[in-house]
Each structure stands twice: as structure tokens, then as C-alpha cells.
């Protein structure tokens, strides 16, 4: 990680930690919303940005996670933070199951399939599958998370929970970037034929990208369920998938700081232009269009070399 990036993260962390002192509850809640979308976008970035797989159904994995946590909590009384890993795991398994038959598809074809997937999940939830999802009304009365006897209820408290998870995620995903796994994803985005010809099992890595991205969406879903205490199918509409997709492309596909900035902008911009009422989406749309024309590589198209520079320097010095 470069020094500039590290400083950027530290400044952002300090600013977020201090935010509740300066912002009202509504504004903090907007930051929480940013945090949840950052998590979704970082997960999708593995699939779309790193592996280059056009997934326009990310909300499906988010929904699986949120409903898993909600059902486990309301029916079995499992604390929500205990449900979190289960949510991640189930979302990953679900992703493996649905991606397996379609994962060989390229670009636009995969995009269409994943749109279908998102809709199937949403409609299945409305139709109350297995009598567990509560139909169009969703699930009520999800308990708040408790950490060390401290109940997380207020937006301030959620801020630390959500952004704490963001910090862990960023740390882990940067590690992933500079590893054999991260490289394999990059190779198959750059040229799947050359990747396979270099000995990389492209099918396996596509599936792993899907599973890992879905796992993060699932865990994020469980936090969302705990924050809202009510979840319903409309929270996981096609629009959610589009927005997260947008965040990755807008911020800079494959760039961890990039997609974080992308998520922040997509969430904050409509808030900033709230005075324009219904016209704010027009402004939003226009900005997107101008962005894609002027800066198609994204706002922060930062690319990490997929190895540790220290390793290369040491090896060069040794010869």
C-alpha cells in the first residue's frame, strides 16, 4: 500500500470517528448508509472490478444475507452478530449454486443472467418461499446487535459497527490484492484465454470471486437487517444492484479506494441536491453521463501491482 493511500485512509478514519460530534443523527445515518454501500461495492468489486464478471444481481446476495440473519434472529433467537457469518456463508453457497451453470458466459450475457437472478430472488421473497420470508411485508422485529453487553441502537453506535467492518474489509481486501488469489482474478479479467493457457483454472476462480463477493454482501445484509429491524423485498430491488454496479464503475473498477469514493458519491450526491427535490435525480443522471464520457476509467483508477514490491526489491538486490 502506498504512503499516500495510507494517509488517506487514516484521515478518513479520524474524520469518521469524530463525525458524531459534529453531525446530527440524520447525517450520521447517511454516513451509515454510505458504509453499507461501501461494503456492497467492495464485494462487487471482487466480482466486477477484479475478475471482470458483469454481475448486475448483487442485491440477490445482499437479500439472502439479510433474510438469513432476520429468520435466524426472529425464529431461533440467534443474536444478529452470530448470524452474520451464517449469512455470509449462505450467500456464498447460494452464489456458487446459481453461478455454476452460467459462469462461463461472457460480459453482456452474464449481465442479463444476473439481472434475472436478482429478480427471481426478489419475487421469491414476495411470494413467501418456504413460508419463512413474510411475503411482501417482510420480516419485523429483528433484534439489535449486542457487543460486549452494549446494545447497538443509535446511529452513532451503528457508525462504529459499520465502519469498523469496513476497516477490516479494506485491510483484508488489500491483502488479497497482492496475493496469488488476487492475481488470478486479475489475469482472468485481462484475458481469460491467456489465463487458462498459463495454468489458471478460470472456472474455479470465477466461482470463488462470486462466492467471496456474495459472502460480503451477505454479511452486509445481516448488518442492514439489524440496523433496520424490518426488512422487506423492496429493499433488494433491481435498482439496488444497479446502484452498486454504478459505484464500482464510477469510482474505478478494481480500485479499493476508488469504489469507496464511488459509493460515497452515489449516496451523498442526492442528499446534497435534496433542495432540488425531484430534479435531483436528473442532476445525478447527468453527472453520471458526463463522468463516463470524460473519465471512463473512474474517479480514482488506482491500480496496485499484484505482488509485494518488497519481494521484488529483495530479489533484485540478491542477484
Amino acid at each position: 500500500m502506498s504512503r499516500r493511500l495510507l494517509i488517506g485512509y487514516l484521515v478518513a478514519a479520524v474524520a469518521l470517528a469524530a463525525a458524531p460530534r459534529f453531525l446530527d443523527a440524520y447525517q450520521v445515518d447517511v454516513l451509515n448508509s454510505v458504509g453499507l454501500y461501501v461494503l456492497l461495492a467492495l464485494g462487487l468489486n471482487l466480482i466486477l472490478g477484479d475478475a471482470g464478471l458483469f454481475n448486475m444481481g448483487h442485491a440477490a446476495f445482499y437479500a439472502v444475507g439479510a433474510y438469513t440473519a432476520a429468520i435466524l434472529n426472529t425464529r431461533l433467537g440467534l443474536p444478529i452478530l452470530w448470524a452474520m457469518p451464517v449469512s455470509g456463508l449462505l450467500a456464498a453457497l447460494f452464489a456458487l449454486l446459481v453461478a455454476r451453470p452460467v459462469v462461463h458466459l461472457r460480459g453482456d450475457y452474464l449481465l442479463v443472467v444476473t439481472i434475472g437472478l436478482g429478480e427471481i430472488v426478489r419475487i421469491a421473497l414476495i411470494n413467501d418461499v418456504f413460508g419463512l420470508t413474510g411475503g411482501a411485508n417482510g420480516i419485523f422485529g429483528i433484534a439489535r446487535p449486542v457487543i460486549f453487553g452494549q446494545k447497538i441502537r443509535k446511529p452513532d453506535e451503528f457508525l462504529y459497527l459499520i465502519w469498523g467492518f469496513v476497516a477490516v474489509t479494506v485491510f483484508l481486501f488489500h491483502r488479497l490484492e497482492q496475493s496469488r488469489f488476487g492475481r488470478a482474478l486479475t489475469y482472468l479479467r485481462e484475458d481469460p484465454v491467456a489465463a487458462e493457457g498459463s495454468g489458471i483454472d478460470t472456472v474455479r476462480y470465477r466461482l470463488m470471486a462470486f462466492a467471496l463477493g456474495a459472502a460480503w454482501a451477505g454479511m452486509t445484509g445481516s448488518i442492514y437487517a439489524a440496523k433496520m429491524t424490518i426488512i422487506s423485498p423492496e429493499s433488494f430491488s433491481f435498482w439496488e444492484s444497479v446502484v452498486v454496479f454504478l459505484m464500482v464503475i464510477l469510482g474505478g473498477s478494481g480500485s479499493i479506494p476508488g469504489v469507496m469514493v464511488g459509493a460515497a458519491i452515489v449516496v451523498l450526491m442526492p442528499e446534497v441536491f435534496r433542495d432540488l427535490a425531484t430534479a435531483r435525480m436528473l442532476v445525478f443522471g447527468l453527472v453520471m453521463m458526463v463522468m463516463m464520457v470524460v473519465r471512463p476509467q473512474g474517479l480514482l483508477p488506482w491500480r496496485a501491482v499484484r505482488f509485494r514490491r518488497k519481494d521484488a526489491e529483495r530479489a533484485e538486490a540478491a542477484r
Binding site: 483484508l172 491483502r175 488479497l176 496475493s179 496469488r180 488469489f181 488476487g182 492475481r183 488470478a184 486479475t186 489475469y187 485481462e190 484475458d191 484465454v193 491467456a194 489465463a195 487458462e196 493457457g197 498459463s198 495454468g199 489458471i200 483454472d201 478460470t202 470463488m208 467471496l212 491500480r303 501491482v305 499484484r306 505482488f307 509485494r308 519481494d311 521484488a312 529483495r314 530479489a315 533484485e316 540478491a318 542477484r319
Partner: protein
């Protein structure tokens, strides 16, 4: 003792077109074998059959006595056959070193968890992979270019980078598809030297090439194809004098 690679009655059809027609030849371990023939003779198709990019319609291909015909490409690489492509297929947006690390992938094993936890084993393996990849860059004559993006390398260097990537996979058979394509005379001379050094490492080479000066200097044996069929096989001296080969390349006079 059987040959390293054996093709037997290999046929590949695309719809009504027979691209490779009942081809059979052996590649003996330790040799440099050339596959030549006019454009459209089916040479690259034959390569794609060996490397698993295409499935054979009929016949068998065996590597070290093991059939390859139903394996996917990445499995074949793992067994010890690495290749380069006719139209260079590097990861253009990545550095030269990252390109070579791709070849190292199948000889390393650290998975997702090891990467997330950055275990000592994973770090050791990463260091080893980087060292080895830099050594391969050095071997093909690209020392010091590790951090240059592949797309910014000159054409001849890109060809050599592709060879370095293939070598990093520890192949026992290296399959080169027109390695001298687009190279000038001087670069071709260097390539002949490089192929010699690859052979000296004990790696068997099978190559397609149109540059006859390279083929005649670099190859121990030559297989000639025309219209999907094998028309001749032998040492460079024999092939140069073969009437059918001369006819295939120069055409025959009207009787």
C-alpha cells in the same frame, strides 16, 4: 520407451471443414521439433488440440503416456505443457513481472485463507515466486524490465515475455506458436540462441514457424503439414530436399 508427446490419427473437424486430418507424429524428449507448412495447413489447430483449447474429433494425444484428450487447458499446463500464442496474448495492462507470475500460478498453492491471513508459508511462497519470475525474465533477456507494463514493451520483447511466462510454469514441453513472428533478423538470431538455451535446460520444444532460417537452425526434427495432413517428417537436411515439401511451398510446374 515412448516419446514425450504422441499424436495418433488425430482429426479435427469444424462443421464440414477438416482442419486436421489423421495426423500422427511423436515428439521425443530433449529435442526441438518444428511444425511447418503453408498458411491454413492446420498447424495452429494442431497446437490448440495439444494444449486443450480445442477438443479432438478423433484420435488420441498422449503426454508421457497419459491421454490429454479430455483435459482442460489449465490441467494440461499443470501436467507440463506450456505455450505461447500466435498473436501475442499477454496481460497488456499488467507489468512484465505480473505476467510471468501468472505462469508460476500452477506451481504454487496458497489459497484464499492463506492470502487473507498472510501466513508465513504464503509469504515464503510469494517471495519464491517473485524470485523465480525475475530469474525467468533474466533468462529471456528482459532483466530489469519487470516493472514495465507489458503493453509498453517493444514487440520482440513481448514475444520473449510470453516465453518467460510459459517457462515459469516449469514445463517439460514448451509449445511456441510462431515465436519469430514480426521479429527482425537480429531478434530472430537472439531467439535461436534462446531456444538453444531452453533445450539445454532439458525442456523439449515444439514450434510452429514460417521463418525457414530459424527452423533450419533451431530444429532437430521437422514435421510438415499441408491441407491438414502430414506430408513429410525428418531432419532439416532431409526436409529441405523432400520433393513434396518443395512442391507444397513453391508449387509444382504444370506438366
Amino acid at each position: 520407451m515412448s516419446a514425450l508427446l504422441e499424436l495418433r490419427q488425430v482429426t479435427k473437424t469444424f462443421g464440414g471443414l477438416t482442419a486436421v486430418d489423421d495426423i500422427g507424429f511423436d515428439v521425443e524428449a530433449g529435442l526441438v521439433v518444428g511444425l511447418i507448412g503453408p498458411n491454413g495447413a492446420g498447424k495452429t489447430t494442431t497446437f490448440n488440440l495439444i494444449t486443450g483449447n480445442y477438443r479432438v474429433t478423433k484420435g488420441t494425444i498422449q503426454f508421457e503416456g497419459r491421454p490429454l484428450t479430455s483435459l482442460r487447458t489449465n490441467r494440461i499446463v499443470r501436467l507440463g505443457i506450456a505455450r505461447t500464442f500466435q498473436n501475442i496474448r499477454l496481460f497488456q495492462q499488467l507489468t512484465a513481472l505480473e505476467n510471468v507470475l501468472a505462469g508460476r500460478h500452477c506451481r504454487t498453492s496458497a489459497g484464499l485463507l492463506a492470502a487473507l491471513l498472510r501466513t508465513p508459508g504464503q509469504r515464503r511462497e510469494e517471495r519464491g515466486a517473485v524470485e523465480r519470475s525475475l530469474a525467468e525474465l533474466d533468462f529471456v533477456g528482459l532483466a530489469g524490465r519487470g516493472l514495465v507494463l507489458a503493453k509498453n514493451l517493444p514487440y520482440g520483447d513481448q514475444r520473449r515475455l510470453e516465453i518467460a511466462r510459459a517457462l515459469a510454469a516449469d514445463p517439460r514441453l514448451l509449445v511456441l506458436d510462431e515465436p519469430a513472428g514480426g521479429m527482425n533478423e537480429q531478434e530472430t538470431d537472439q531467439l535461436v540462441g534462446l531456444i538453444g538455451r531452453i533445450k539445454a535446460r532439458g525442456i523439449t520444444v515444439l514450434l510452429i514457424e514460417h521463418d525457414m532460417s530459424l527452423v533450419m537452425r533451431a530444429c532437430d526434427r521437422i514435421v510438415v503439414m499441408e491441407y491438414g495432413k502430414k506430408i513429410a517428417e525428418g531432419t532439416p537436411e532431409v526436409i529441405q530436399k523432400d520433393a513434396r515439401v518443395i512442391a507444397a511451398y513453391l508449387g509444382t510446374e504444370a506438366p
